[in-house]
Amino acid sequence: MIDTLNIRLDRIALAGGNPLAIANYLTDIEEGQSEKRGYWISGRLKDDNDKDNYKISAFQWGISIKGSLAKYYLPSNVYTHKRATIQRAIEKMSDELHIDVSAATVSRLDISTVIPTQRPPADYYPRLGDKPYFKRLPTAADTLEYRTSKKRLIFYDKAKEAKAKRAMIPPNLTGCNLLRYELRYFGRLQKQLKQADPITAAALYNPKFYYMLVQQWRQEFDTIKKIHRNTTVMEDVKTVKEAEDLFFARLIQQGGGKAAIDEFMADIDASNAFGENKTQYKYNLKAKLNKRLLTPIADGDDIIVEIEKAVENYARYAV
């Protein structure tokens, strides 16, 4: 379930090798000199689709590797890495760069997957409430983000994004609504994940560590406050009057239903309301109120349960 993976290899980890020698294995090389970093080179490590995927920069201090491990090794990042493919991807990168990438320290990590959903992803966002210590930011129509300085949770419409970027969607998920849930770690991963040692690329395919990461992904979702309620039927609402009628129906049904109507009609009976037209108007009013009582106000589903179950299943059987 790893997508973006940024790593860095110190000169020491290169066993005394020259970081700048990596230029031999890169394309689109650029070079420069800066006061802070000294002489540097950067280039691209192309993926199997010949797209510039990983950006590799080499300095006197070591090497920085930034990109998406899913795009690098899988047909696109709509596919989700399993633990075994993470290992194969790291091994492939080591072969291509002629260095041991497994020893590199992780500086940024995204844990994510896609969930096929019964509704468009944006329908679920209103059901995801606040999360302690995180800012909830609906950043765009199709995106919901929870943010701290070192960690982010992002929900967005992956099918839409894949279509826009012409990324390959797995054939068995073509045509599905795809909710993407990403947990992104920015910096200080060792502290954030409460590990005794710096997190290396090799740790990402260690069974226990990988399982722990996936559980973090689940736990971060679990601590979002969920707004559990049935869905109001909005599909037929086209005008303000229709919305008002639906709201009225909801108030009646949730505020006592038939008993409330009977009580109100008894008050009408006991009053001088409607004057001499009382019998006819009473009949009309009761018919109208009873109609509200039968108006479907909810489709019966607490839709966020679908996502809760899916996250739980993914975390339980993450391989």
């Binding site: 596919y79 399993k82 997957t113 969930i115 797995p170 045509g175 739980e312 299943n313 059987y317």
Partner: protein
């Protein structure tokens, strides 16, 4: 999307008796009744009568993984004297109604060799993914093979439960032909 469909069933006692099949075995036996499409590794699992049998087993002690994520069940086949661990059978909690079939997923072990060093018939098929439709009484298991579907088994299981593949599954069922006729007089 699906290259192969297979219907496995636990045979009724009278049918087992007619074929001299042992009854009340610890690990339930599932016989391949109907199939559509092709799945070449299965050809090697046929016994000398032409039957293809899988057994439903408890994977503890066989599959090396943490208790939390180990599948509740697994399917095992035989090729001659070799035991073939066909797949784990994960049954996630998906919103199927009570009395409706359960949805499961798995994938083959694509290692080149078996534990005893013999060639693995599923070598080269490790990228495939499996979906299962299991009757609530565990008497009937339908298998759907997704070529290169290994990385999408979990979301595909949810899509199957949501009804996304209903028409494709119906077509696969309709196209299935008898694999071995246990009821032939």
């Amino acid at each position: 999307m699906f290259s192969y469909y297979a219907l496995f069933e636990q045979l009724p006692d009278e049918v087992k008796q007619a074929h001299g099949i042992k009854m009340d075995m610890k690990n339930p036996r599932f016989d391949l009744i109907k199939a559509s499409g092709e799945y070449p590794p299965f050809d090697t699992l046929k016994n000398n009568k032409g039957m293809l049998i899988l057994r439903l087993i408890d994977p503890r002690g066989i599959i090396n993984s943490t208790d939390q994520r180990r599948a509740g069940r697994a399917l095992q086949g035989r090729r001659g004297k070799d035991t073939i661990n066909f797949t784990s059978l994960f049954i996630p909690e998906l919103p199927t109604a009570e009395g409706e079939p359960m949805i499961g997923f798995g994938n083959p072990n694509g290692n080149p060799t078996l534990k005893n060093g013999n060639p693995n018939p599923f070598a080269g098929y490790g990228n495939d993914g499996f979906l299962f439709i299991v009757s609530p009484d565990w008497k009937r298991i339908e298998l759907l093979v997704m070529p290169d579907g290994n990385l999408t088994t979990n979301p595909a299981a949810k899509a199957l439960a949501d009804g996304v593949y209903d028409s494709i599954v119906q077509a696969a069922r309709a196209a299935a032909t008898t694999f071995y006729d246990y009821w032939k007089k």
